[in-house]
C-alpha cells in the first residue's frame, strides 16, 4: 500500500489532485461523468463580486500541445454562486472545496472573500491576483510584490480559512512576489496561472482570439511551471500548490519533487474529462514504479544535493 494523502494548509486530502479553476466549472458537469468525491478537492470557477459575461468570442485558440483561452472570468457573481451553485455542488461533492476568487480592486477582493469564507463547504480560498488592477492603471495585482502583499493583507483581514494566493508567471521575479505574499500572511501559494500568449490566423492575418491575447496552458507549459514551483518552494515556508501542464500521474510526481504539496490539473480536463479520475487511479502504480511509498517523502526532493 502506498500513501497518497497530503495535508494542505491544515486540511488533509486523500490525494493531491485538484482540478484547476476554470476547467471544472462548479463540479456538477463532471459529477455526471464520475464520482468527483475521489478528488483531493477542486478549485471552482473564478468568482468575482459582480456577474461577468467575460470577453467576446472567439475565446479559444489551439496551440501545439496546449491552448489559449481568453474567457475573461465569466461567472454569475458571488451572490449567485452562494445561492445557486454551492447548493448544487453540495449534492455531489462532500469534501471541502477550494473557492477561487478574483477582483478588480482591493475592495472587491475583500467583499467577495469575506462572503465566500462564511460558506461551510469552502475549505480554502484561492485568490487569483492575475486580473488587472483597475486602481493601479490596469496592471495586474500579481505583477508587483507590493500589490500582491496588499491583496493578501486585505483578504487575510476578513477571512478565517486558509488563503492561497495564485500567482501569475508573467513577471520578472516570481520569488519576490511569493515572499511578499508569505510575509503578508498568505497560508499558501499556487502557481502557475497561464502564460500570456497569442495566435494569428494565417487566412485573415488577424489574432484568432477576439481579445487578441489570452492565457496559454496545457502540456507545453509544464517545464515553466516545474521551474517556478522549484524556485518558489525553496524561498517560502508555506505550502506550494503546483500546476501547469499536468496531464498524468508522472507529472504529479514531478511537481511534488519540485516542491509542491498538492497539484492542480487544468487544461487536461477539457480534453479528457476523466483525466483527474484516471490520474488518481494510476497514481499508486506509478508511485510503486518509482519506489515511492509515501508522496510526502518526495516533496521537494529535487532541492536536495
Amino acid at each position: 500500500m502506498v500513501n497518497t494523502k497530503v495535508n494542505l494548509c491544515g486540511i488533509e486530502m486523500d490525494n493531491p489532485i485538484i482540478p484547476a479553476s476554470g476547467t471544472f466549472g462548479f463540479g456538477y458537469e463532471f459529477a455526471e461523468l464520475y464520482d468527483i468525491n475521489c478528488l483531493g478537492t477542486f478549485s471552482f470557477k473564478g468568482t468575482t463580486k459582480d456577474p461577468r459575461f467575460g470577453n467576446s468570442t472567439p475565446r479559444i485558440a489551439e496551440c501545439d500541445s496546449g491552448m489559449i483561452n481568453a474567457v475573461g472570468l465569466q461567472n454569475p457573481g458571488v451572490e449567485k454562486v452562494i445561492a445557486e451553485e454551492l447548493p448544487k455542488l453540495k449534492a455531489c461533492f462532500l469534501k471541502p472545496v477550494m473557492a477561487n476568487i478574483s477582483g478588480f480592486s482591493l475592495e472587491e477582493y475583500a467583499y467577495t472573500c469575506e462572503k465566500i469564507d462564511k460558506e461551510e463547504q469552502v475549505g480554502w480560498l484561492e485568490v487569483n491576483i492575475s486580473c488587472p488592477n483597475v486602481h493601479g492603471g490596469g496592471m495586474s495585482f500579481g505583477t508587483s510584490p507590493e500589490a500582491a502583499a496588499e491583496v493578501t493583507k486585505v483578504v487575510k483581514a476578513v477571512t478565517t480559512k486558509p488563503v492561497i494566493i495564485k500567482l501569475s508567471p508573467n513577471v520578472t521575479d516570481i520569488v519576490s512576489i511569493a515572499k511578499a505574499c508569505e510575509e503578508a500572511g498568505a497560508d499558501g501559494i499556487s502557481l502557475i496561472n497561464t502564460l500570456l500568449g497569442m495566435r494569428i490566423d494565417l487566412k485573415t492575418g488577424k489574432p484568432v482570439i477576439a481579445n487578441k491575447m489570452g492565457g496559454f496552458s496545457g502540456a507545453a507549459i509544464k517545464p515553466v511551471g516545474i521551474r517556478m514551483v522549484y524556485q518558489v518552494s525553496s524561498a517560502v515556508k508555506i505550502p506550494v500548490v503546483g500546476m501547469g501542464g499536468v496531464s498524468n500521474a508522472e507529472d504529479v510526481i514531478e511537481y511534488m519533487m519540485a516542491g509542491a504539496t498538492a497539484v492542480e490539473v487544468g487544461a487536461a480536463n477539457l480534453v479528457n474529462p476523466y483525466v483527474c479520475k484516471e490520474i488518481i487511479d494510476d497514481l499508486p502504480a506509478v508511485m510503486a514504479k518509482y519506489g515511492i511509498k509515501n508522496l510526502n517523502d518526495i516533496k521537494g526532493c529535487a532541492h536536495n544535493g
Binding site: R59, I60, M67, A219, A267, L270, P273
Partner: protein, 243 residues
C-alpha cells in the same frame, strides 16, 4: 455524453473538400438530431467538434469540411483506424416543437445535421421540405439522400449553376411552412431571420475548448441569460437569440 473508442468504417470525399466518415461504436448517448461528437486526433491538443449527420444503434455518420490542419488530418484517416471520441454532446433540435410543415435549411457544411432531423420528422409523419444552399453545383452533396427520405428538396446555388440562383432565402420566401430549423453560416442566418415568418431553431457554430460545458469558451448572450453553445446549444430557439 460518453467517451469511447470508435472504429472508422469508411472515410470518403463527397466533393472536393467535403468528406463523409462512418464510425462504429456506442451511440446510446445521442438523444436528439443536431448533437455533435468531439474527436481527439493524434498531434492535436483540442478535440474537433463535428455535428452528427446520422446514427443508428451502432454507427455514426459525420460530414466535415477540410478547413484546417485538423480536418486535413481527418481526411487522411483510413478504414479500420480507431478514434477517441466524446459522443452525444450538446442540445440538439427539439422535434416536438417542429410543425406539420417544417422547412429545414442547410447552408454548405451546415447541411449534415439536417439529415437525421429530416429522418426523425418524416418518421413522425411531418411534411418536410429541405432547402440546400451551396455556392456552385460541384459543391452539392446529399441531395439524393434527402430525396430518398421522401422530403421535398430545393437547391440554391449562388452562381445559379444548379437550382434556384441566389441564396436559400430566395427559395424560402416562396414556400409555405409552419416551422423552420436551420444550420449554416452567420450571413445565411441573418438573411433567414429577416424573412422567416414562423418560430424556428438555429444551430450555431463557435470555437470550443472542451465541448461539454466546462470551460465557458463558447458562451453567448441570449434573451434568457448566458448560454454555452456546446452544452445549452448548439441549437437555440429563434425567440431567445440576440442578433
Amino acid at each position: 455524453m460518453n467517451r469511447g473508442i470508435y472504429k472508422i468504417i469508411s472515410n470518403k470525399p463527397l466533393t472536393k473538400d467535403i468528406y463523409e466518415m462512418k464510425l462504429e461504436g456506442e451511440t446510446s448517448h445521442i438523444t436528439a438530431p443536431g448533437q455533435f461528437i468531439n474527436i481527439l486526433l493524434d498531434g492535436f491538443y483540442l478535440r474537433r467538434p463535428i455535428s452528427i449527420c446520422d446514427y443508428d444503434d451502432k454507427t455514426i455518420t459525420i460530414i466535415y469540411k477540410v478547413v484546417g490542419h485538423g480536418t486535413e488530418a481527418m481526411a487522411k484517416l483510413s478504414e479500420g483506424e480507431n478514434l477517441d471520441i466524446l459522443c452525444g454532446l450538446g442540445n440538439g433540435f427539439d422535434t416536438a416543437k417542429c410543425g406539420k410543415k417544417t422547412v429545414l435549411i442547410g447552408g454548405g457544411v451546415g447541411v449534415p445535421p439536417m439529415y437525421n432531423l429530416c429522418k426523425k420528422l418524416m418518421a413522425g409523419g411531418a411534411d418536410v421540405s429541405i432547402i440546400l444552399g451551396f455556392n456552385t453545383e460541384s459543391e452539392i452533396f446529399y441531395k439524393e439522400e434527402f430525396e430518398a427520405l421522401g422530403a421535398k428538396v430545393y437547391v440554391s446555388t449562388v452562381d445559379g449553376s444548379f437550382g434556384t440562383k441566389g441564396f436559400v432565402t430566395d427559395v424560402l420566401k416562396d414556400l409555405e411552412y409552419d416551422y423552420f430549423c436551420t444550420c449554416g453560416p452567420m450571413p445565411m442566418f441573418r438573411a433567414i431571420e429577416k424573412i422567416a415568418v414562423t418560430s424556428g431553431q438555429y444551430s450555431f457554430e463557435e470555437r470550443m475548448g472542451c465541448g461539454f460545458g466546462a470551460c465557458m469558451g463558447c458562451s453567448c448572450k441570449t434573451k434568457y441569460g448566458y448560454k454555452r453553445i456546446c452544452r445549452d446549444g448548439p441549437v437555440l430557439e429563434r425567440e431567445e437569440i440576440i442578433w
